[in-house]
Symmetry: C2
Subunit: 551 residues, 2 copies
């Protein structure tokens, strides 16, 4: 291992994905503390929870800690093309204004997103060959092929004068991934033999024993299953799992069914894969209307919406509002996917709609139609056998996953483990790796079309309205601060008897307060009276606002 | 089988629980169509989904179809004491005003709820002996002991002159339920031999193969597990599962730990069980403060809050805000419970808080610490072998469960299956059972302390505010309908740039509209301008209200 210039440090700063599954954003810095150069590994989104952040579909990391030093960011490197690794690039790039690096398939999807955002002319996306390398300032980046549930996943070996960090991205050990490269075990073993300072690694399945299984066994199982079905078949799953789409198309062809792609991202993903040289023997794709004209036993639909997303293909098929695709009694829907936590009720609603219409359901609960794309415990152990890092840094997981992962790393004889949170700044070298600072971090909400810092509290304020409504009193005062008209009350989202109780209380308070001279004081006494009346009548305290107009 | 008076009919009307797990409410009617007498079997609540009905903790059935004929309701019979079977009695009784019948433990908990509601003096709760019978008008009710995850679960054999209905309530076949009666297989077999018209049966686990397992095996597993633990142990689970509480207390004693009950419903349930003669050898219970004074290896806490309920004991222990109970690194929390769908994220948040503090987690995912209380497919098959009904009516399940259950019943040679929805009125006899009517049904929300019909749309309106905020414009007009002051805008829950865009648009619209004479027309044009400006700036359309005050 070489040693850098005295004063130089290698640091690691996760701003997303440390403590959550999603929103991955990792920064590595090199140089003296006052003049670090940074690279960013992955820049993804997290999907909002309706209960927690109502009205926010997408969240991304607050990266102000880096953008305050924008000129020192050398590039964004994407390990693979999942939304939680690339979805924030188009949103955050204007704050970073650096080049983007990825292998061809990932680059193709990033470019598509930049086009939609009107940024494709501004952002330089550089394609790195599969198995290729890249140098950015003091960093050398070797892309090592691994396997996952998408094409072209990469482990990055990040070399610096002070040592090498292995950053896994998302991975599993699929002995037969069907499409794309296999796990480059030789390169991983060599990396370990050459000495790795830190392994920054996927924790998603750190609580799951055994191995995640292979796409090839799902292919066999799907082919057997589809061979037993009689009516129309619709399969829903993650559009980005190109090997799975290929398996389903393969099973369809085997049993004399033609396929149609339903939903925009199905079309987009298949097209991107083809443009990058994959899916060369994918069968011809019918359009939805042609497909519906075939006898039911001759067709299979590949559909988006396996997570119950309300506007996706499957939701519209389930309530029979899809313009072209209609299923009926005796047809079958296969959920070739897992239930992402938080989506349970939406997915069950979808399945209940289908069941009520006599459509057969097949899910991963009752048939072998899905494997996870993340490493279970035996696979994690194998990675530690290959890499043998000095320190294990579990990311891409909630705390419970990170803790289990760190324990496993210790069992694998890793001398040190660090469990990072977003905003933790670790010095990895020189010296024993340690936490040296905490920088501002948090989440940015894509709220409608506007980026809003979580700390501004908009979603929280709306959540409070969702719970107890909004009480608004309009108070009109004359030039002398006297009440000039009967106050108007709006009790939005509140039961009628509560609204009536509030009106009485407000009228009373405004009358009693008519002799005061201070409009702010009057408004406050009206606000309190309104809120108290609501609470007495209802048991809940609504957000209460008084609008004062002076005439 | 006897035959009733010509013109008499036996009908079944579910108003809750047909299409959902929860809110069980089943009515059976007997007599001529214009003069039926009714009994109600179970009267439970459903817990609200934060995303769907924000601000609504509890839902119950809309029973107006019955209350319009209140004088003909002969009684409410509770099969067992779970909230989704008895939780609505205190809320709905004032509309029904009839007697309540249940075995002692169930009656004890119903009485407690009526006391809290100030109704105990008004409502007559009659205790039926375990294995006892009851006659209400044309109905004879035989209580047949079964097993479930609570004390004293009963299958009701409902006899009428036109035939017998077997109504299971919630059940499983636990060969060793530890406390209370075993499944009265002889009575069930005799019932089947005597001839059963309809089996109205629990569908919860109709998608799960095999059997649900026994409390006795969980007892062994918990005892082994607790023997391996070193620090303080807290076990969280359903307080109503008295056999489980007894198992945990048993395991604690075996390994030299004293127990404390943390959370109100733990105290309440243990007390109710003792008053009814159960838990005679339950160990002495320490209070929380005494328990904390013991060495960590000498104590075990039984805690409420396994579903992540924010105000329950476990949530307060997890964020260390509990007044008395404090856990630390090396202590262990066992979740001896399942994850009720919809609670995943709340439970994971809790587990992450504990993991972050170095507290060990044990869940049903990684250890055998829980069994379901509902019949899996092999148990359902056994019930059909015992009862051999003419018609199977799956209730207590979502549609997907009901459909799977009906299919299983057909495989078990049941000649007819009917899948009910709430509000479906079925004639069970005379003649072939069939749907004869649909009556008004739906849900009532307990919104704060006020009962609100779901159809009134309050929760929906609040959900809309949660999504896109509320825009309020206060418009002050003079006696001639002219704008008398600059309008005031409240853009609650909206980003600042959106609020500014709306203010500009409103000022413009009010100015332009100042020459109009019709205040309603002016308000509407201001409302539209405000909403359009918000949509243009934000991409979301907020609920928009204009308050007009005339001075």
């Amino acid at each position: 291992m070489t040693v850098g210039v005295p004063g130089d440090e290698l640091v690691f700063l996760p701003l997303g994905g440390a403590g959550e599954i999603g929103m991955n954003f990792n920064a590595y810095g090199y140089g003296p503390p006052d003049k670090r150069q940074w690279i960013i590994v992955d820049c993804g989104v997290l999907f909002g929870r309706e209960g927690n952040q109502p009205g926010v579909d997408v969240l991304m990391p607050d990266i102000r800690a880096l953008t305050e030093n924008r000129e020192e960011v050398l590039g964004i490197i994407a390990t693979h093309a999942h939304e939680d690794h690339i979805g924030a690039i188009a949103h955050l790039w204007p704050m970073l204004r650096c080049s983007v690096y990825a292998t061809a398939f990932t680059a193709r999807l990033i470019t598509g997103k930049l086009e939609e955002a009107g940024l494709s002319a501004k952002v330089r996306v550089t394609v790195v060959p599969v198995g290729g390398s890249l140098t950015l300032g003091p960093f050398t980046l070797d892309f090592i092929s691994i396997t996952h549930s998408i094409l072209e996943p990469n482990l990055l070996a990040i070399g610096t004068p002070l040592g090498v960090v292995a950053h896994t991205g998302d991975w599993k050990i699929d002995p037969d991934p069907l499409l794309g490269e296999e796990t480059d075990a030789a390169a991983l073993e060599k990396l370990g033999n050459d000495g790795v300072l830190a392994l920054v690694c996927d924790s998603t399945n750190a609580l799951v024993s055994g191995t995640s299984g292979s796409e090839s066994t799902v292919r066999e199982s799907l082919a057997d299953l589809i061979g037993t079905l009689k009516g129309r078949v619709a399969v829903t799953g993650f559009a980005s799992n190109i090997a799975r789409l290929d398996s389903i198309a393969h099973a369809a062809r085997m049993h004399g069914r033609k396929i149609a792609l339903v939903g925009r991202s199905m079309q987009k993903m298949v097209q991107a894969a083809r443009e990058c040289g994959y899916l060369k023997d994918f069968p011809p794709v019918l359009d939805e209307i042609e497909a519906m004209e075939l006898p039911p036993r001759k067709v299979l639909f590949l559909c988006t919406g396996s997570q119950g997303e309300p506007r996706a293909a499957m939701a519209r098929i389930a309530d029979d509002s899809h313009p072209n695709v209609h299923l009926a009694e005796g047809d079958t829907v296969i959920f070739s996917s897992r239930v992402i936590p938080g989506n349970e009720l939406a997915i069950f609603d979808l399945q209940n709609q289908l069941a009520a219409r006599g459509i057969e359901l097949v899910t991963a609960e009752d048939h072998f139609v899905h494997v996870s794309g993340h490493p279970c415990r035996d696979e994690l152990a194998q990675m530690y056998r290959w890499i043998r890092p000095r320190v294990a840094i579990p990311v891409h997981g909630e705390v419970r996953h990170q803790v289990a992962h760190a324990r496993l790393a210790r069992e694998m004889q890793v001398p040190q483990t660090l469990i990072p949170q977003n905003g933790h700044l670790f010095r990895l070298a020189p010296g024993r790796p340690q936490l040296i600072d905490e920088v501002p971090s948090g989440r940015i909400h894509l709220d409608g079309r506007v980026l809003v810092a979580e700390g501004e509290g908009l979603a929280r304020s709306r959540r409070a309205m969702g719970h107890a409504g909004l009480l608004v009193v309009s108070l009109v005062l004359d030039g002398k601060g006297r009440v000039a008209a009967l106050p108007t009350v709006l009790a939005e989202g509140m039961p009628q008897p509560v609204a009536e109780a509030v009106e009485r209380a407000v009228t009373e308070a405004a009358r009693g307060g008519g002799r005061r001279n201070d409009p702010a004081e009057l408004a406050e006494s009206v606000r309190r009276a309104a809120r108290r009346a609501a609470h007495d009548a209802w048991g809940k305290k609504p957000v209460t606002r008084v609008l004062v107009t002076e005439v």
